[in-house]
Protein backbone atom coordinates (compact mmCIF):
# COMPACT_ATOMS: atom_id res chain seq x y z
CA UNK A 1 0.00 0.00 0.00
CA UNK A 2 1.56 3.29 -1.10
CA UNK A 3 1.21 6.18 1.37
CA UNK A 4 -1.55 8.70 0.69
CA UNK A 5 -0.13 12.06 -0.46
CA UNK A 6 1.92 13.90 -3.05
CA UNK A 7 5.39 13.11 -4.40
CA UNK A 8 7.18 15.66 -6.56
CA UNK A 9 8.91 14.45 -9.73
CA UNK A 10 11.81 16.92 -9.83
CA UNK A 11 14.86 14.80 -10.48
CA UNK A 12 16.25 12.33 -12.99
CA UNK A 13 14.72 14.06 -16.01
CA UNK A 14 16.31 13.89 -19.47
CA UNK A 15 15.54 16.14 -22.45
CA UNK A 16 16.12 16.11 -26.18
CA UNK A 17 15.14 18.27 -29.11
CA UNK A 18 12.15 16.67 -30.83
CA UNK A 19 13.77 16.96 -34.26
CA UNK A 20 16.71 14.85 -33.04
CA UNK A 21 14.59 11.97 -31.71
CA UNK A 22 13.20 9.51 -34.26
CA UNK A 23 11.22 7.54 -31.70
CA UNK A 24 7.60 8.07 -30.74
CA UNK A 25 6.30 8.66 -27.25
CA UNK A 26 5.10 5.06 -27.22
CA UNK A 27 8.61 3.80 -27.98
CA UNK A 28 10.13 6.14 -25.37
CA UNK A 29 7.84 4.78 -22.65
CA UNK A 30 7.97 1.10 -23.54
CA UNK A 31 10.75 -0.47 -25.61
CA UNK A 32 13.22 2.41 -26.09
CA UNK A 33 13.38 4.64 -23.03
CA UNK A 34 16.42 6.97 -22.93
CA UNK A 35 19.01 5.34 -20.70
CA UNK A 36 21.03 8.39 -19.73
CA UNK A 37 22.52 11.72 -20.78
CA UNK A 38 23.95 10.50 -24.06
CA UNK A 39 23.31 12.37 -27.30
CA UNK A 40 20.75 13.57 -28.14
CA UNK A 41 19.64 13.28 -24.52
CA UNK A 42 20.85 15.78 -21.90
CA UNK A 43 20.11 16.19 -18.21
CA UNK A 44 16.99 18.33 -17.86
CA UNK A 45 15.89 20.91 -15.31
CA UNK A 46 12.25 20.22 -14.29
CA UNK A 47 10.47 22.33 -13.33
CA UNK A 48 12.10 24.67 -15.82
CA UNK A 49 12.18 25.73 -19.44
CA UNK A 50 13.95 24.47 -22.55
CA UNK A 51 16.43 27.36 -22.41
CA UNK A 52 17.04 26.70 -18.72
CA UNK A 53 17.98 23.10 -19.58
CA UNK A 54 20.19 24.14 -22.52
CA UNK A 55 21.93 26.70 -20.28
CA UNK A 56 22.41 24.12 -17.52
CA UNK A 57 24.21 21.93 -20.07
CA UNK A 58 26.28 24.88 -21.36
CA UNK A 59 24.74 24.47 -24.80
CA UNK A 60 23.90 28.17 -24.91
CA UNK A 61 25.65 31.15 -23.29
CA UNK A 62 23.95 32.79 -20.34
CA UNK A 63 21.47 35.20 -21.99
CA UNK A 64 21.72 37.60 -19.06
CA UNK A 65 25.44 38.34 -19.48
CA UNK A 66 26.57 41.08 -21.84
CA UNK A 67 25.09 40.69 -25.31
CA UNK A 68 25.16 36.89 -25.12
CA UNK A 69 21.43 36.73 -25.79
CA UNK A 70 22.16 37.93 -29.31
CA UNK A 71 23.98 34.68 -30.03
CA UNK A 72 21.04 32.45 -29.08
CA UNK A 73 18.78 31.80 -32.05
CA UNK A 74 15.32 33.23 -31.60
CA UNK A 75 12.30 30.99 -32.10
CA UNK A 76 11.11 33.33 -34.85
CA UNK A 77 14.20 32.37 -36.88
CA UNK A 78 14.56 28.75 -35.81
CA UNK A 79 10.91 27.79 -36.03
CA UNK A 80 8.83 26.27 -33.23
CA UNK A 81 10.20 22.74 -33.78
CA UNK A 82 13.67 23.86 -32.68
CA UNK A 83 12.34 24.58 -29.20
CA UNK A 84 9.87 21.67 -29.12
CA UNK A 85 11.45 19.27 -26.63
CA UNK A 86 10.95 15.82 -25.13
CA UNK A 87 11.25 15.54 -21.34
CA UNK A 88 11.54 12.00 -19.97
CA UNK A 89 11.78 10.43 -16.54
CA UNK A 90 10.76 7.31 -14.67
CA UNK A 91 9.14 6.91 -11.28
CA UNK A 92 8.32 4.11 -8.88
CA UNK A 93 4.66 3.80 -7.94
CA UNK A 94 2.62 0.69 -7.36
CA UNK A 95 -0.84 0.99 -5.88
CA UNK A 96 -2.97 -1.69 -4.30
CA UNK A 97 -6.67 -2.20 -3.59
CA UNK A 98 -8.80 0.85 -4.21
CA UNK A 99 -6.04 3.44 -4.38
CA UNK A 100 -5.95 6.01 -7.18
CA UNK A 101 -2.98 7.89 -8.64
CA UNK A 102 -2.99 11.28 -10.35
CA UNK A 103 -0.18 12.73 -12.43
CA UNK A 104 -0.24 16.50 -11.87
CA UNK A 105 1.33 19.34 -13.88
CA UNK A 106 0.98 22.76 -12.21
CA UNK A 107 2.16 24.67 -15.29
CA UNK A 108 3.00 23.75 -18.90
CA UNK A 109 3.99 26.38 -21.47
CA UNK A 110 2.28 26.06 -23.82
CA UNK A 111 0.80 22.62 -24.64
CA UNK A 112 2.03 19.03 -24.41
CA UNK A 113 1.50 15.36 -25.15
CA UNK A 114 2.06 13.00 -22.22
CA UNK A 115 3.05 9.36 -22.69
CA UNK A 116 3.01 7.01 -19.70
CA UNK A 117 3.92 3.36 -20.22
CA UNK A 118 2.87 3.60 -23.86
CA UNK A 119 -0.42 5.43 -23.25
CA UNK A 120 -0.92 8.93 -24.69
CA UNK A 121 -2.78 11.85 -23.08
CA UNK A 122 -3.05 15.46 -24.24
CA UNK A 123 -2.34 18.53 -22.07
CA UNK A 124 -4.35 21.31 -23.74
CA UNK A 125 -3.00 24.82 -24.42
CA UNK A 126 -2.59 27.51 -21.78
CA UNK A 127 0.35 28.54 -19.62
CA UNK A 128 -1.68 29.25 -16.48
CA UNK A 129 -3.72 26.13 -15.89
CA UNK A 130 -3.13 22.96 -13.90
CA UNK A 131 -3.47 19.49 -15.38
CA UNK A 132 -4.35 16.40 -13.35
CA UNK A 133 -4.49 13.01 -15.08
CA UNK A 134 -5.91 9.90 -13.38
CA UNK A 135 -3.25 7.36 -14.38
CA UNK A 136 -4.31 4.56 -12.03
CA UNK A 137 -5.16 2.16 -14.83
CA UNK A 138 -1.99 2.72 -16.85
CA UNK A 139 0.61 2.30 -14.13
CA UNK A 140 3.03 -0.51 -14.71
CA UNK A 141 2.24 -3.66 -12.66
CA UNK A 142 5.82 -3.89 -11.45
CA UNK A 143 5.68 -0.28 -10.23
CA UNK A 144 8.42 1.01 -12.55
CA UNK A 145 6.76 3.68 -14.73
CA UNK A 146 8.16 5.47 -17.78
CA UNK A 147 7.00 9.02 -18.51
CA UNK A 148 7.67 11.17 -21.60
CA UNK A 149 6.31 14.67 -22.20
CA UNK A 150 6.54 16.44 -25.57
CA UNK A 151 6.23 20.18 -24.89
CA UNK A 152 5.24 22.61 -27.65
CA UNK A 153 5.98 26.38 -27.56
CA UNK A 154 3.23 29.02 -27.58
CA UNK A 155 1.23 29.10 -30.81
CA UNK A 156 2.16 32.73 -31.53
CA UNK A 157 5.78 33.28 -30.45
CA UNK A 158 6.04 36.39 -32.59
CA UNK A 159 9.09 38.07 -34.06
CA UNK A 160 11.22 40.75 -32.36
CA UNK A 161 11.33 43.87 -34.56
CA UNK A 162 14.82 45.33 -35.12
CA UNK A 163 13.87 48.25 -32.90
CA UNK A 164 12.72 45.90 -30.11
CA UNK A 165 9.97 47.52 -28.11
CA UNK A 166 7.62 46.45 -25.35
CA UNK A 167 6.28 43.02 -26.22
CA UNK A 168 8.00 42.80 -29.62
CA UNK A 169 5.40 42.50 -32.38
CA UNK A 170 2.75 41.67 -29.74
CA UNK A 171 1.90 38.31 -31.33
CA UNK A 172 2.38 36.55 -27.98
CA UNK A 173 -0.73 38.40 -26.81
CA UNK A 174 -2.84 36.10 -28.98
CA UNK A 175 -2.03 33.27 -26.56
CA UNK A 176 -2.73 32.98 -22.82
CA UNK A 177 0.86 33.18 -21.70
CA UNK A 178 3.34 35.55 -20.08
CA UNK A 179 3.87 38.47 -22.47
CA UNK A 180 7.27 39.75 -21.34
CA UNK A 181 8.97 36.95 -23.28
CA UNK A 182 9.07 39.02 -26.48
CA UNK A 183 11.17 41.56 -24.60
CA UNK A 184 10.33 44.70 -22.65
CA UNK A 185 12.12 47.82 -21.48
CA UNK A 186 13.41 45.80 -18.50
CA UNK A 187 13.95 42.44 -20.18
CA UNK A 188 15.67 41.00 -23.23
CA UNK A 189 13.55 38.67 -25.45
CA UNK A 190 13.47 35.07 -24.20
CA UNK A 191 14.50 32.99 -27.19
CA UNK A 192 12.31 29.93 -26.42
CA UNK A 193 9.42 32.11 -25.06
CA UNK A 194 9.76 30.05 -21.84
CA UNK A 195 8.60 26.81 -23.43
CA UNK A 196 8.69 23.96 -20.96
CA UNK A 197 7.38 22.20 -17.88
CA UNK A 198 7.73 25.48 -16.01
CA UNK A 199 6.08 24.48 -12.74
CA UNK A 200 5.81 21.52 -10.36
CA UNK A 201 5.19 17.95 -11.54
CA UNK A 202 3.88 15.49 -8.97
CA UNK A 203 2.04 12.24 -8.46
CA UNK A 204 -0.59 12.06 -5.78
CA UNK A 205 -2.06 8.91 -4.26
CA UNK A 206 -5.57 8.87 -2.79
CA UNK A 207 -8.16 6.32 -1.78
CA UNK A 208 -11.60 6.23 -3.33
CA UNK A 209 -12.45 9.86 -2.52
CA UNK A 210 -10.30 12.82 -3.53
CA UNK A 211 -10.33 16.32 -2.02
CA UNK A 212 -10.33 19.04 -4.73
CA UNK A 213 -9.58 22.77 -4.29
CA UNK A 214 -10.96 23.62 -0.83
CA UNK A 215 -11.97 27.27 -0.36
CA UNK A 216 -11.47 29.03 2.99
CA UNK A 217 -13.35 32.26 3.79
CA UNK A 218 -13.46 34.11 7.11
CA UNK A 219 -16.20 36.45 8.36
CA UNK A 220 -15.88 38.95 11.19
CA UNK A 221 -18.25 40.39 13.79
CA UNK A 222 -18.15 42.41 17.02
CA UNK A 223 -15.01 44.25 16.10
CA UNK A 224 -13.10 41.06 15.14
CA UNK A 225 -13.86 39.30 18.41
CA UNK A 226 -16.36 36.88 16.86
CA UNK A 227 -14.90 35.23 13.77
CA UNK A 228 -16.10 32.33 11.61
CA UNK A 229 -14.22 30.13 9.19
CA UNK A 230 -16.33 28.92 6.27
CA UNK A 231 -14.88 25.95 4.37
CA UNK A 232 -16.13 24.52 1.11
CA UNK A 233 -14.48 21.71 -0.78
CA UNK A 234 -15.12 19.60 -3.82
CA UNK A 235 -15.01 15.84 -3.32
CA UNK A 236 -14.75 13.22 -6.02
CA UNK A 237 -15.76 9.57 -5.50
CA UNK A 238 -13.74 7.66 -8.04
CA UNK A 239 -15.10 4.24 -7.16
CA UNK A 240 -18.12 2.37 -8.44
CA UNK A 241 -19.71 2.23 -4.99
CA UNK A 242 -21.28 4.69 -2.58
CA UNK A 243 -18.57 6.08 -0.32
CA UNK A 244 -19.57 6.53 3.34
CA UNK A 245 -17.21 9.32 4.35
CA UNK A 246 -16.02 11.01 7.51
CA UNK A 247 -14.83 14.48 6.58
CA UNK A 248 -12.74 16.27 9.21
CA UNK A 249 -11.42 19.79 9.45
CA UNK A 250 -8.86 20.77 12.04
CA UNK A 251 -7.46 24.24 12.70
CA UNK A 252 -4.29 24.52 14.75
CA UNK A 253 -2.02 27.40 15.40
CA UNK A 254 1.71 27.44 15.01
CA UNK A 255 3.30 27.13 18.44
CA UNK A 256 5.62 30.01 19.21
CA UNK A 257 8.95 29.73 20.89
CA UNK A 258 9.62 26.50 22.71
CA UNK A 259 6.01 25.66 23.56
CA UNK A 260 5.07 22.07 22.78
CA UNK A 261 1.60 20.58 22.42
CA UNK A 262 1.17 17.49 24.58
Amino acid sequence: MVAIGKTKLDSGWLAARSTEVDLTGVHLTTTHPPTGPSSPWIEAVVPGTVLGTLLKNNLVPDPFYGLENESIIDIADSGREYYTFWFCTKFQCKVTGDQHVDLNFRGINYSAEVYLNGHKKILPKGMFRRHSLDVTDILHPDGQNLLAVLVHPPDHPGRIPPEGGQGGDHEIGKDVAAQYVEGWDWMTPIRDRNTGIWDEVSISVTGRVKIVDPHLVSSFFDDYKRVYLHTTTELENRSAWVAECSLSIQVTTELEGNFFLV
Binding site: G165, A178, V217, T253
Partner: protein
Protein backbone atom coordinates in the same frame (compact mmCIF):
# COMPACT_ATOMS: atom_id res chain seq x y z
CA UNK B 1 -7.67 23.46 18.56
CA UNK B 2 -10.76 23.43 16.43
CA UNK B 3 -11.76 19.98 15.18
CA UNK B 4 -14.99 19.07 13.46
CA UNK B 5 -16.08 15.84 11.73
CA UNK B 6 -19.02 15.43 9.38
CA UNK B 7 -20.40 12.31 7.75
CA UNK B 8 -21.63 12.17 4.18
CA UNK B 9 -22.34 9.62 1.48
CA UNK B 10 -20.99 10.23 -1.99
CA UNK B 11 -22.60 8.34 -4.86
CA UNK B 12 -20.37 6.29 -7.14
CA UNK B 13 -18.43 8.38 -9.66
CA UNK B 14 -19.90 11.62 -8.26
CA UNK B 15 -18.17 15.00 -7.99
CA UNK B 16 -19.82 16.92 -5.15
CA UNK B 17 -19.29 20.23 -3.35
CA UNK B 18 -19.53 20.23 0.45
CA UNK B 19 -19.57 23.15 2.91
CA UNK B 20 -18.70 22.50 6.55
CA UNK B 21 -20.77 24.16 9.24
CA UNK B 22 -18.86 27.35 10.03
CA UNK B 23 -16.17 27.13 12.72
CA UNK B 24 -16.37 29.77 15.47
CA UNK B 25 -13.27 31.51 16.82
CA UNK B 26 -13.24 33.96 19.73
CA UNK B 27 -10.64 36.73 19.24
CA UNK B 28 -8.35 34.72 16.97
CA UNK B 29 -4.90 36.13 16.26
CA UNK B 30 -5.36 38.24 13.14
CA UNK B 31 -3.07 38.41 10.12
CA UNK B 32 -1.65 41.92 9.54
CA UNK B 33 0.42 43.40 6.72
CA UNK B 34 4.09 44.13 7.30
CA UNK B 35 4.51 46.92 9.83
CA UNK B 36 0.99 46.73 11.27
CA UNK B 37 1.20 43.67 13.49
CA UNK B 38 1.87 39.94 13.47
CA UNK B 39 1.30 37.73 10.48
CA UNK B 40 -0.49 35.10 12.53
CA UNK B 41 -1.07 31.93 10.55
CA UNK B 42 -3.18 28.90 11.39
CA UNK B 43 -2.82 25.48 9.86
CA UNK B 44 -6.10 24.27 8.35
CA UNK B 45 -6.16 20.52 7.66
CA UNK B 46 -8.90 18.57 5.91
CA UNK B 47 -8.99 14.77 5.78
CA UNK B 48 -11.49 12.37 4.29
CA UNK B 49 -11.82 8.79 5.52
CA UNK B 50 -13.90 6.20 3.69
CA UNK B 51 -15.67 3.71 5.94
CA UNK B 52 -13.92 0.39 5.78
CA UNK B 53 -10.98 1.72 3.78
CA UNK B 54 -9.30 4.28 6.05
CA UNK B 55 -7.88 7.63 5.09
CA UNK B 56 -8.55 8.48 1.45
CA UNK B 57 -7.08 11.96 1.04
CA UNK B 58 -5.81 14.95 3.00
CA UNK B 59 -5.11 18.62 2.36
CA UNK B 60 -3.60 21.40 4.42
CA UNK B 61 -2.98 25.11 4.01
CA UNK B 62 -1.67 27.99 6.09
CA UNK B 63 -4.51 30.45 6.68
CA UNK B 64 -4.65 33.96 8.13
CA UNK B 65 -7.76 35.62 9.56
CA UNK B 66 -7.89 39.04 7.93
CA UNK B 67 -10.40 41.26 6.20
CA UNK B 68 -9.11 43.25 3.23
CA UNK B 69 -11.26 46.06 1.86
CA UNK B 70 -10.51 48.61 -0.81
CA UNK B 71 -12.39 51.22 -2.80
CA UNK B 72 -11.67 54.07 -5.15
CA UNK B 73 -11.42 57.35 -3.27
CA UNK B 74 -13.61 59.97 -4.98
CA UNK B 75 -11.35 62.84 -3.99
CA UNK B 76 -8.09 61.43 -5.34
CA UNK B 77 -9.21 58.68 -7.71
CA UNK B 78 -6.75 56.43 -5.90
CA UNK B 79 -7.58 53.10 -4.34
CA UNK B 80 -7.72 53.12 -0.54
CA UNK B 81 -7.09 49.91 1.38
CA UNK B 82 -8.16 48.76 4.83
CA UNK B 83 -7.04 45.62 6.61
CA UNK B 84 -9.09 44.45 9.59
CA UNK B 85 -10.83 47.80 9.53
CA UNK B 86 -7.59 49.78 9.77
CA UNK B 87 -6.54 52.09 6.92
CA UNK B 88 -3.22 51.03 5.36
CA UNK B 89 -0.74 53.39 3.77
CA UNK B 90 0.37 51.23 0.87
CA UNK B 91 4.10 51.08 0.25
CA UNK B 92 4.07 48.98 -2.88
CA UNK B 93 6.75 47.53 -5.12
CA UNK B 94 6.54 46.34 -8.70
CA UNK B 95 7.09 42.64 -9.18
CA UNK B 96 7.66 41.28 -12.66
CA UNK B 97 9.06 37.87 -11.78
CA UNK B 98 11.83 36.05 -9.99
CA UNK B 99 13.89 35.01 -13.01
CA UNK B 100 13.52 35.55 -16.76
CA UNK B 101 14.10 31.87 -17.48
CA UNK B 102 11.58 30.84 -14.79
CA UNK B 103 14.25 29.28 -12.55
CA UNK B 104 11.85 29.66 -9.64
CA UNK B 105 12.88 28.41 -6.21
CA UNK B 106 11.55 28.69 -2.66
CA UNK B 107 14.96 29.93 -1.55
CA UNK B 108 14.91 32.73 -4.13
CA UNK B 109 11.32 33.66 -3.31
CA UNK B 110 12.09 33.74 0.42
CA UNK B 111 15.15 35.95 -0.13
CA UNK B 112 13.46 38.34 -2.57
CA UNK B 113 10.28 38.70 -0.54
CA UNK B 114 12.01 39.08 2.83
CA UNK B 115 14.17 41.74 1.17
CA UNK B 116 11.04 43.70 0.25
CA UNK B 117 9.65 43.30 3.76
CA UNK B 118 12.94 44.50 5.20
CA UNK B 119 12.70 47.54 2.92
CA UNK B 120 9.41 48.25 4.69
CA UNK B 121 7.16 47.45 1.74
CA UNK B 122 3.68 46.11 2.50
CA UNK B 123 2.45 45.31 -1.02
CA UNK B 124 3.82 43.66 -4.17
CA UNK B 125 2.10 44.28 -7.48
CA UNK B 126 2.43 41.30 -9.84
CA UNK B 127 2.55 42.90 -13.28
CA UNK B 128 0.22 41.56 -16.00
CA UNK B 129 3.03 40.87 -18.48
CA UNK B 130 4.63 38.42 -16.06
CA UNK B 131 3.21 35.43 -14.24
CA UNK B 132 0.30 34.56 -12.06
CA UNK B 133 2.75 34.02 -9.26
CA UNK B 134 3.21 30.64 -7.72
CA UNK B 135 1.99 29.28 -4.34
CA UNK B 136 5.55 29.46 -2.99
CA UNK B 137 5.60 33.22 -3.75
CA UNK B 138 2.34 33.71 -1.88
CA UNK B 139 3.48 31.51 1.00
CA UNK B 140 6.35 33.90 1.75
CA UNK B 141 4.12 36.92 1.25
CA UNK B 142 1.85 35.34 3.88
CA UNK B 143 4.82 34.90 6.20
CA UNK B 144 6.36 38.36 5.72
CA UNK B 145 3.11 40.32 5.48
CA UNK B 146 3.25 41.56 1.89
CA UNK B 147 -0.18 42.13 0.40
CA UNK B 148 -0.36 41.03 -3.24
CA UNK B 149 -2.02 42.82 -6.16
CA UNK B 150 -2.21 40.10 -8.84
CA UNK B 151 -2.89 41.10 -12.43
CA UNK B 152 -4.22 38.79 -15.12
CA UNK B 153 -2.40 38.45 -18.43
CA UNK B 154 -3.40 41.66 -20.24
CA UNK B 155 -1.01 44.60 -20.83
CA UNK B 156 -1.56 48.02 -22.33
CA UNK B 157 1.33 47.57 -24.74
CA UNK B 158 0.23 44.24 -26.22
CA UNK B 159 -3.53 44.39 -25.88
CA UNK B 160 -4.99 47.26 -27.80
CA UNK B 161 -2.99 50.32 -26.78
CA UNK B 162 0.55 49.72 -27.97
CA UNK B 163 2.32 51.09 -31.02
CA UNK B 164 1.41 49.51 -33.38
CA UNK B 165 -2.05 48.94 -31.90
CA UNK B 166 -2.38 45.17 -31.57
CA UNK B 167 -4.79 42.59 -30.22
CA UNK B 168 -7.57 45.09 -29.52
CA UNK B 169 -9.71 42.14 -28.49
CA UNK B 170 -7.05 40.51 -26.33
CA UNK B 171 -6.11 36.85 -26.76
CA UNK B 172 -7.71 34.80 -29.53
CA UNK B 173 -9.35 32.30 -27.18
CA UNK B 174 -11.39 34.05 -24.49
CA UNK B 175 -12.70 30.78 -23.09
CA UNK B 176 -9.13 29.59 -22.59
CA UNK B 177 -8.25 32.88 -20.86
CA UNK B 178 -11.19 32.45 -18.46
CA UNK B 179 -10.39 28.78 -17.87
CA UNK B 180 -6.83 29.76 -16.92
CA UNK B 181 -8.09 32.63 -14.75
CA UNK B 182 -10.55 30.42 -12.88
CA UNK B 183 -7.95 27.72 -12.31
CA UNK B 184 -5.45 30.32 -11.11
CA UNK B 185 -7.99 31.74 -8.64
CA UNK B 186 -8.59 28.25 -7.24
CA UNK B 187 -4.83 27.74 -6.91
CA UNK B 188 -4.18 30.99 -5.00
CA UNK B 189 -7.40 32.10 -3.28
CA UNK B 190 -6.66 30.78 0.22
CA UNK B 191 -3.56 32.91 0.79
CA UNK B 192 -4.14 35.76 3.27
CA UNK B 193 -1.66 37.97 1.40
CA UNK B 194 -3.81 37.96 -1.77
CA UNK B 195 -5.46 41.37 -1.59
CA UNK B 196 -6.64 42.26 -5.08
CA UNK B 197 -7.23 40.67 -8.48
CA UNK B 198 -6.70 43.16 -11.30
CA UNK B 199 -7.83 42.69 -14.91
CA UNK B 200 -4.55 43.79 -16.49
CA UNK B 201 -1.72 46.27 -16.65
CA UNK B 202 -2.81 49.77 -17.76
CA UNK B 203 -5.62 48.20 -19.73
CA UNK B 204 -9.09 46.88 -19.17
CA UNK B 205 -9.55 43.36 -20.54
CA UNK B 206 -12.00 42.87 -23.42
CA UNK B 207 -15.58 43.45 -22.25
CA UNK B 208 -16.65 39.79 -22.14
CA UNK B 209 -13.55 38.74 -20.20
CA UNK B 210 -13.80 41.69 -17.80
CA UNK B 211 -17.46 41.07 -17.10
CA UNK B 212 -16.86 37.37 -16.49
CA UNK B 213 -13.93 38.09 -14.17
CA UNK B 214 -15.95 40.63 -12.18
CA UNK B 215 -18.79 38.18 -11.91
CA UNK B 216 -16.64 35.20 -10.93
CA UNK B 217 -14.69 37.18 -8.36
CA UNK B 218 -17.64 38.69 -6.55
CA UNK B 219 -17.72 37.29 -3.06
CA UNK B 220 -20.44 34.65 -2.69
CA UNK B 221 -23.74 36.24 -1.60
CA UNK B 222 -23.56 34.11 1.53
CA UNK B 223 -20.64 36.24 2.71
CA UNK B 224 -21.32 39.53 0.98
CA UNK B 225 -23.76 40.69 3.63
CA UNK B 226 -21.16 40.87 6.36
CA UNK B 227 -17.82 40.80 4.77
CA UNK B 228 -17.23 43.18 1.89
CA UNK B 229 -13.77 42.40 0.62
CA UNK B 230 -11.64 43.76 -2.10
CA UNK B 231 -11.02 40.45 -3.82
CA UNK B 232 -12.81 41.86 -6.80
CA UNK B 233 -11.42 42.92 -10.13
Amino acid sequence: EHLQTQHLSIPPGAHVQYTFPQLFFYKPNLWWPNGMGEQSLYNVGITVDVKGYGESDSWSHQFGFRKVESHIDDATGGRLFKVNGQPVFIRGGNWTLSDGLLRLSKKRYKTDIKFHADMNFNMLRCWGGGLAERPEFYQYCDIYGLLVWQEFWITGDVDGRGDPVSNPDGPLDHDLFLLCARDTVKLLRNHPSLALWVGGNEQIPPEDINTALKNDLKLHPHFRSFNRTSNSV
